[in-house]
């Protein structure tokens, strides 16, 4: 396995049992994603892209097949190990932002580190820098309810960077935003990718997919097409974004 491969998936199968019928949500998927890629996964509903996202995000385990993330075999990990792995190695951006309402902006950004046993007072500067990166340095003590949708999504992006993840997974990140704000968010993703971050984005919007370096289309639990428009950002190009501890 090449050291630049972040994701390697071999013959991945995910089967759900619905009543008496077995539904193959994923039916033998092979996929490799290199470091610095910006991949858009597209497909109609029922194509298996949500299942794909859940498995990529270590929220679900495959029925069979192998999934290596950063060189580790994730497909055999138990619940606790998966949780810890998510906390250390993954960043999530959701369609509906998914911030914790009772926490302030900076506290929300800090959450993944909290579950690694870190202390906010020691990581305040780090979280503050990320807030600055997404342009919310003057809103650190605001609560999600006091922010606009675009601002909330920026907080979510800052949160997805806080643990310096191998991979950032975004599920329809612009789905709840107006087109202008959506473009701002996508610009932010472009910047992150340009600075060497690996992004996987699930969407059905073509304008979103256009920006990606590679588009994977899914259909009936299989990869229908896999188009590379340009080479991934080289690891050497990173980065003025200080996301490391």
């Amino acid at each position: 396995m090449a050291t630049t491969d972040i994701i390697r998936i071999e013959n991945l199968v995910k089967t759900y049992r619905m009543g008496d019928v077995d539904v193959h949500a994923l039916n033998g998927v092979d996929l490799t994603i290199e470091k610095g890629s910006y991949v858009a996964i597209m497909g109609a509903s029922g194509s298996g892209k949500s299942t794909m996202l859940n498995i990529l995000g270590c929220l679900d385990r495959p029925t069979s097949g192998k999934y290596y993330l950063g060189g580790e075999d994730v497909s055999t990990m138990d619940d606790d190990a998966l949780s810890a792995f998510r906390g250390r190695q993954l960043g999530f951006v959701f369609q509906s932002y998914n911030l914790i309402q009772q926490l302030t902006v900076i506290e929300n950004i800090f959450v993944p580190l909290f579950y690694q046993g870190q202390d906010l007072s020691e990581r305040n500067e780090h979280c503050g820098k990320l807030a600055k990166l997404v342009g919310l340095e003057d809103r650190l003590d605001h609560r999600p309810k006091q922010l606009s949708g675009g601002q909330q999504q920026r907080v979510a992006i800052a949160r997805s960077l806080v643990n310096d993840p191998l991979l950032i997974l975004a599920d329809e990140p612009t789905g709840n935003l107006d087109s202008k704000t959506g473009i701002e968010i996508l610009d932010l993703f472009d910047r992150l990718n340009a600075e060497g971050k690996t992004l996987v984005l699930v969407t059905h919007g073509d304008e979103v997919a256009e920006r990606a370096q590679r588009v994977v289309r899914m259909r009936d639990g299989k990869i229908e097409s896999d188009v590379r428009k340009r080479a991934p950002v080289r690891a050497g190009q990173e980065s003025d974004i200080q996301t490391t501890a």
Partner: protein, 428 residues
């Protein structure tokens, strides 16, 4: 888990609870009432039984007190017949035979009570004249505050000497030293040789078993032999055109034993002895030790009943908390999903919700302890009742409230942790 992390989780729990102040407050009420009622009720109960026990202890746990009781049948007959003399009560014979035959007896102190008027110059007060033995202060709660008490010499010579209670002395001699002054009772002159103070409670003061049944604070102590010689055995009282006469040798005999153990052995013996001397039930036997044991038994039952009520109310409070926490878990399904996605293990979710439940119940417990300590103070002030807040009741009530939080928090917390992160994230 590190202390700082725990503190952080507690802060987080408080923050989440403060999002719904009204709901959290109402949920805590169950625990607040439970804890408060345990402490307050125990404090009031403890105070009440303390007073009773103190009263009994003052009677002396190594004493047996015999009292004359006017037999009810004879009394009504006495009222019907004008010149009937009601002859009842303890006898000198009783005192003597107890002293001579019962083992373990240390002192036998007989006592007569006669209602009289005491006069000094122009001042007249109704008093109880108590004819007794020089040892009376030893077996009762009497303290000599000036002069001396009665002596064997007074007894033998039937001296006309008397000892006054201080409150009576203050009324009778507002301007001079009562010692060596002479007071007049029933035409006889008595020299005041001492002052005594009653340290006991009102219930315990000697009372004559007569029909008036009114306690007189003012007592005059005279030697028993003097009382017998000067006032006679028969006491005549007039009321509403008829008169009533009582013939009572002794109103009370206080028997003091060497130890409380001796009392238990002696009680049946004394009862047998008295039954032989008396044909009618004109006496009562008061055993402070038995009363004390009864009071302790009563207190134990009282505590068990209170404990059960408290336990029930705390369980009800706990169920209320569990109910709300289950609703909270459903409501915060999304938050749980987010936390799981961001790296929280099942154990982290359990800890979070368990801590929240415990914060709720312990918070309720703290408020309850505060109310439970304050309410008895208010009750004491308003109702003039003694209340005692025992530290153990505070510790138990508070401890139980914490335990209730853990016990009733585990189910909602594990329910939260068992949610599928994918489903939870999708939850609206």
């Amino acid at each position: 888990m590190r202390l700082r992390t725990l503190i952080r989780i507690v802060q987080l729990g408080i923050k989440s609870l403060l999002l719904h102040k009204m709901r959290s407050g109402l949920t805590m009420l169950g625990i607040i009432f439970g804890v408060c009622s345990v402490i307050a009720m125990l404090a009031i109960g403890e105070g009440a039984s303390y007073e009773a026990q103190e009263a009994i202890k003052k009677l002396g746990s190594s004493n047996i007190i015999l009292r004359s009781v006017s037999p009810p049948a004879e009394k009504s007959a006495g009222a019907a017949t004008q010149d009937y003399v009601n002859d009842y009560g303890l006898l000198y014979l009783d005192a003597n035979s107890i002293r001579e035959t019962i083992p373990g007896v240390q002192w036998v102190v007989p006592m007569r009570i006669i209602r009289q008027e005491v006069r000094f110059n122009t001042m007249v007060f109704p008093v109880q004249v108590i004819g007794t033995h020089p040892l009376y202060p030893v077996v009762s709660s009497l303290r000599t505050s000036a002069g001396r008490f009665l002596t064997y010499m007074d007894e033998r010579n039937r001296n006309n000497v008397c000892v006054l209670t201080t409150s009576l002395a203050e009324n009778l001699f507002p301007y001079q030293d009562p010692l060596e002054e002479t007071v007049v009772m029933d035409g006889e002159s008595f020299r005041v040789v001492g002052l005594v103070q009653e340290t006991g409670l009102e219930k315990q003061r000697p009372q004559s078993g007569d029909s008036e049944g009114k306690t007189i604070d003012a007592n005059v102590y005279v030697p028993l032999a003097t009382a017998k010689a000067r006032f006679g055995e028969t006491i005549v009282s007039r009321s509403a055109g008829s008169y009533q006469a009582e013939k009572v040798e002794l109103h009370q005999i206080t028997v003091q034993f060497e130890s409380p153990e001796a009392v238990e052995i002696a009680v049946p013996q004394i009862k047998t002895l008295l039954a032989k001397n008396h044909t009618k039930p004109d006496y009562e036997v008061i055993v402070p030790l038995e009363l004390l044991q009864q009071a302790e038994q009563t207190k134990r039952i009282f505590n068990i009943v209170l404990g059960s009520i408290a336990a029930i109310s705390l369980v009800v409070g706990g169920i209320g908390i569990m109910n709300i926490m289950l609703a909270t878990v459903t409501e915060r399904t999304r938050e749980i999903g987010i936390r799981r996605a961001l790296g929280a293990k099942k154990q982290d979710i359990i800890t979070q919700f368990l801590v929240e439940t415990v914060v709720l119940s312990v918070g309720g417990g703290l408020i309850g302890v505060f109310a439970g300590v304050v309410i008895p103070i208010i009750v004491s002030a308003l109702a003039d009742m003694k209340t005692i807040v025992t530290p153990i009741s505070v510790i138990i009530a508070f401890g139980i409230s914490g335990a209730v939080g853990v016990v009733f928090g585990i189910y909602p917390a594990s329910k939260a942790a068992d949610l599928d992160p994918i489903e939870a994230l999708r939850h609206e």
